[in-house]
């Protein structure tokens, strides 16, 4: 069994090492190596009053859930604790935490003053008997307590992995209910972990494939409100929306923002032919990027705004291509077996996530931007539509089950292909788009 596990781990190309020895800084190196999630403890935070007590427990649970959810950390349950943390400024009994092999310890304190909540926290490197960088604090209103927990978890994650976090982020998606042939769809927005769902539209018209603006304050999506697919832009805070200009007799869909938030790249279908266009959102001025009899859709900008990756069937089957953001000649980057679609450039710029359809199965995969080093992360009856976490470590996507009772739901997977997890939503869900980290 051990041998099997070891070879399984070595077969994966991206690994995690909990590199930690005495007197070495506590660090998870997300590189090749053996996977061993880092054991940590998050005792319930210390409340400064009875009013803060429930919140102090809840905050610690969300921090723990965020960290465990990455697959890089393993929480040690409270039942194993030898000592309790009863005062935020009390000395840490390192020996007690070493004894249960908690390599990282997160302690916190909560102050509630009216509607104002302040969370202080520290991250301890147990085996070095010291704090990892100085403590920090976050303040906010009581109803924003989950965001504060996510911010604490992001800080812990960043300090230990050396990478940006992704917990204080939101996801816009399509909430789905009803049977397959009468599915009702409405736009919804939620925290990355499925909490705080709010609906942005009703289900009176089909809505598809929302995308966040680079600052997360606006959402582009496709709606059939007019009877025809048209691109709408919605202000998330005020839930105001407007339709982007489009000519009679055309259909427009697959909109995505440019990295500066000024331009939309999208598909426009006219006379049965679908090509890529850009439009300046303020002026409504459109520019045609492709001009071929084939289907061009699912565009995505590189983070520097210089290039666009998209899907085209100009070769006979859908494949991925990269071109300049102003159009012109495109270079094919997908050459494996099967059909490729929905390319999405990673926020780090190094990878492109995609949907692949091959031999009756669907996969979410990643490849380098030149098409090399393709890796398939998932396989099922129908997986599609990847979106990147703000730090480029995790991909969320739609999984639909087969058959008459087929249902869509959201999943996440690490770019190593590990840690496949469902995202719990009140109804079915599809077409997720991950926001940037919130400010």
């Amino acid at each position: 069994m051990m041998k099997f596990l070891v070879s399984l781990f070595l077969g994966l190309s991206l690994m995690v090492t909990a590199a930690h020895a005495q007197n070495q800084p506590l660090r998870i190196e997300i590189t090749e190596g053996v996977i061993e999630p880092l054991p940590f403890a998050v005792p319930n935070f210390v409340p400064d009053s009875g009013a803060a007590s429930e919140l102090a427990d809840d905050l610690a649970r969300v921090v723990a859930a965020d960290l465990s959810g990455t697959g890089l950390f393993r929480e040690i349950p409270a039942s194993a604790y030898i000592s309790q943390v009863t005062g935020f400024d009390d000395p840490i009994k390192f020996a007690d935490w070493k004894a249960i092999n908690a390599q990282a310890l997160v302690t916190g304190a909560v102050n509630v003053s009216g509607n104002r909540v302040t969370v202080r926290f520290r991250v301890w490197d147990v085996f070095s008997d010291k704090e990892i960088e100085p403590g920090m604090q976050f303040s906010g209103t009581r109803d924003g307590w989950r965001r504060m927990a996510h911010k604490v978890a992001d800080a812990v994650y960043s300090r230990i992995t050396g990478e940006g976090g992704y917990f204080d982020s939101r996801v816009v998606y399509v909430s789905e209910s009803g049977p397959k042939n009468q599915r009702r769809k409405r736009l919804a927005i939620m925290d990355y972990d499925g909490h705080n769902v709010q609906y942005l539209t009703d289900s009176s018209a089909i809505v598809l494939a929302p995308r966040f603006s680079p600052t997360g304050d606006r959402v582009l999506y496709t709606s059939y409100e007019s009877g025809f697919p048209r691109i709408h832009v919605l202000d998330v805070g005020q839930v105001q929306r407007r339709v982007l200009e489009s000519a009679e007799g055309t259909m427009s869909f697959a909109p995505r923002f440019s990295p500066d938030g000024q331009t939309v790249v999208y598909s426009l279908s006219q006379g049965g032919n679908t090509d890529l266009y850009t439009m300046n959102i303020a002026s409504g001025q459109a520019q045609r990027l492709t001009s071929t009899p084939s289907i061009e859709t699912a565009p995505s900008y590189s983070p520097d705004g210089q290039q666009i990756v998209f899907e085209s069937d100009r070769s006979g089957t859908p494949q991925l291509y990269v071109m300049s953001a102003s159009g012109g000649e495109a270079k094919r980057i997908s050459f494996g077996q099967g059909r490729y679609g929905t390319p999405v450039w990673s926020p780090r710029g190094d990878l492109i996530a995609f949907t692949k359809q091959n031999k009756g199965r669907f996969h979410i995969g990643v490849m380098r931007t030149d098409g090399s080093e393709e890796r398939l992360l998932t396989a099922s009856f129908l997986d599609e539509g990847p979106t990147w976490s703000p730090n480029g470590r995790v991909i969320m996507f739609t999984r639909e089950t087969r058959g008459e009772n087929g249902r869509s739901s959201l999943y996440t997977v690490d770019i190593s292909g590990r840690n496949l997890r469902p995202v719990r939503t009140p109804d079915g869900g599809s077409d997720p788009a991950w926001s940037p980290l919130q400010k």
Binding site: N181, P229, N273, Q357, L382
Partner: protein, 169 residues
Amino acid sequence: MNLLSKISMAVALVAMTACTNNSALDDTNSVNLGGSAGAGAGSAADPSSPAYFQQAVGDRVLFEVDQSTLNDAARATLLAQANWLLENTDFSATIEGHADEQGTREYNLALGARRANAAREFLISRGVAGSRLKVVSYGKERPIEICSEEACYANNRRAVTVLAGGLTG
């Protein structure tokens, strides 16, 4: 199927059509699921009624996997549609293109647009004015059959001509 037997089948289907229309009223996503007449259906016994068009003429054509080319059966149906539209000039139509679920959402939208347009171009080539014919694609959003087998997929890869206007509308 000859015309007479089509008509008799159409008459038998009238009751069913009425049911479809009633249930469509409850559908808040406001899509004509079966592509049943957007205009008042009327009686299928009346050759100038949308019900006749839908059932006797045939309101839909089917496509092969990933294809938008019209096969012989599709061309025969569209020829009958063209003749009907040339006779019944009060009607306009929206041609809905659809795809099966085996494909990504946005590609299927584009594929549905190709299919709807192939049907439209054929009708125009037979003399129907383009100004009477709109197209819309639903991609894989509105399957009429919901199993995940080719038997269902074959009926979902379709272009449906939905009538609007007319004296009964």
